[in-house]
Amino acid sequence: MKPLFEVKDVFYNYPKQDEDVINGISFKIYKGEIFGFLGPSGAGKSTTQKIMIKILEDFRGDIYYDGKSITEFHNEFYEDIGVSFEMPIHFSKMTALENIEFFKQLYQNNADTEALMKRVGLWKDRDKMVGEYSKGMKIRLNIVRALLNSPKMLFLDEPTNGLDPTNAMILKDMIREFKEAGGTVFITSHIMSDIEQLCDRVAFIVHGEIKEIDSPRNLKIKYGKREVTLEYQENNQTQTKHFALENIGQNETFIKLLKEKNIETIHTGETTLEDIFIKVTGESLHDNG
C-alpha cells in the first residue's frame, strides 16, 4: 500500500544548537490510519510534527506527502491538513464563532462548523468571548478549528491533555469518526490510554530516535508477559501463583489447583503499553515532565 506520509531518515537541530534533537527517524503513515507518536516530554514528538506540517523547514532527510516531497508544496498543503496544537490558540477577545468564521474564510473547503460545534458541545456558547472559556472548552474549539477545512489528514498534539473524561471521550469518538470517513491521523501523546484506544500503529520515540513501531496489539504480543495469575485460599491465607500461557491446558499444577483449591481470582497477565515502552526504550514516559 502507498503511504500518505513517508518520513525517511530525518534529522533536525534547532538554530544555534549543535546537537540534533531528531536523529534519523523513518516511518510511514498509511491512508486511513491513526498513527501515534508516544514518548516523554522533550523526546521530539512536537518537533517531528512541526517538521511534518512545514513549520520547521531546515531538516535533513526526506519527507513525502502523497508521493511528493513536502518541500515542493507551497501553502496549498494546508488545504489538505488540519492541525491542533497542544496549547489552545484563539483570539481571546473574539467570540468562538467569530474565531471559527475568520479561519473558515481562509480555506477553499469548509466543513459544517455548526455541526462540529454542536458535536463538541460549544454551539450554545458560540457567542461567548473565547477568553471566558474554560481550558477544556478551548481545547474542544481547537479541534473544531482543525476540522473546519474538511482536511484529509489531522495532526493532533496531545489532544486530550487537560480534558475531563467525558470530553476526552467525545474527542476520541470524533477522531475515530474522522478515520471511519477516510481520514488519516497523526497523534503525539504521552498519555498511554489515548494511544492504546485510538492508534492502529504506534512509534516509541526517545531522545529523537524511534525505538519501535507496531500496532499496540502486536507490541503486547511481542513484549508483553503471556501468563495466567491465580489467587487461591490455602491455610486461611491468599496464595498467588503465575503460570505461562503456553500449553496451559497441559500444566498439571495449574489444573490441580483449579480442581482442589478455593480459587479467589484468575486472570491473564495484561502488560500495559507503558510497561512495554519502558522495556523497549529504557525510559519512563513521565521522567521528563
Partner: protein
Amino acid sequence: MTMGRLRILIVGELSRLNKYNVFSISILVAIIWSIVLFFIDDTMLSSLLPFVLLVDASLMSVMYIGSVTYFEKIESTISTLLVTPITNSELVLSKVIANTIHNLFSSSLIIIAFYFIRDIELNFLLLFFGLILTTMFFTIAGLSLSYYQKDFTSMLMTIMALSFIFLIPTILYMINILTWEGWEYILLINPIQAAEQLIGGGFKGAIYNYQYYIGLIYMGLGSVLLYLFHTLPKFQTYAIRQSGV
C-alpha cells in the same frame, strides 16, 4: 498572493484592532491632541500641527503595531495562522495595510477637526500621501522591531530610546535650537526628519526642495527595502519562535 485572502486578513486585523481596544485608544489620543491644539494660538498651531501628525504617523504607528504583535505573542495566534493556506507576505502586508488604515483614521480626525474649527490651509492630497508613506514606513519598521522584543514593556523602552535618538534632534532643528548648517545634512539620515519633510509638504507655504524629495525617497523606497529585506524574510523565524520553538 490572492487579493481575496489579503482582504479577509486586513478586515480581520482591523476587527481585532477594534476588539482589543487599540482603535479606542487611538481615537482617544486624537481627541487629546485636538483639545491641546484647539487652545494654542495660531502662530504655534502652524508648527505644532505638523509635529502632532508626525508623532501620530511615526511613533504611534510603531506603538500600535507593537501592541498588535504583543497580543499575538501572548495568545500564540501566529502559530495557527502559520498552518493555514495564507502566505507570509499576505500576513505581513495585511498588518502593514491595516495599521496604516487605522492610523490614517486617527490622523484624519485631527486634520478634519482643524480644517473646520481653525480654518487651516492644507494640500490634502500631498498631506495624506505623506501620512500614508510615513505610517507604512514606521509600521514596517515597528514590525521588524517587535521581532526582537520580549514583551510590550521592552517594546515601550525601545520606542522611548529611539524617540530620544531620532525625534529630539528633529524637534530641536524645527524650533531653531540646532542652528549649525551641518545639521541640515546630518539629519538627512534620520527617518523622523524625512517624515517631517514629507508631512510638512501638505501644509501651506511648504518648500519642495531637495530635502522633501529625499524624504519622499527615504519613506517610499525605505518601506519597500525594509519590507523585502528584513520584515518579510525574518517573519518566519519570528513566527516559529512564537509557536514555542
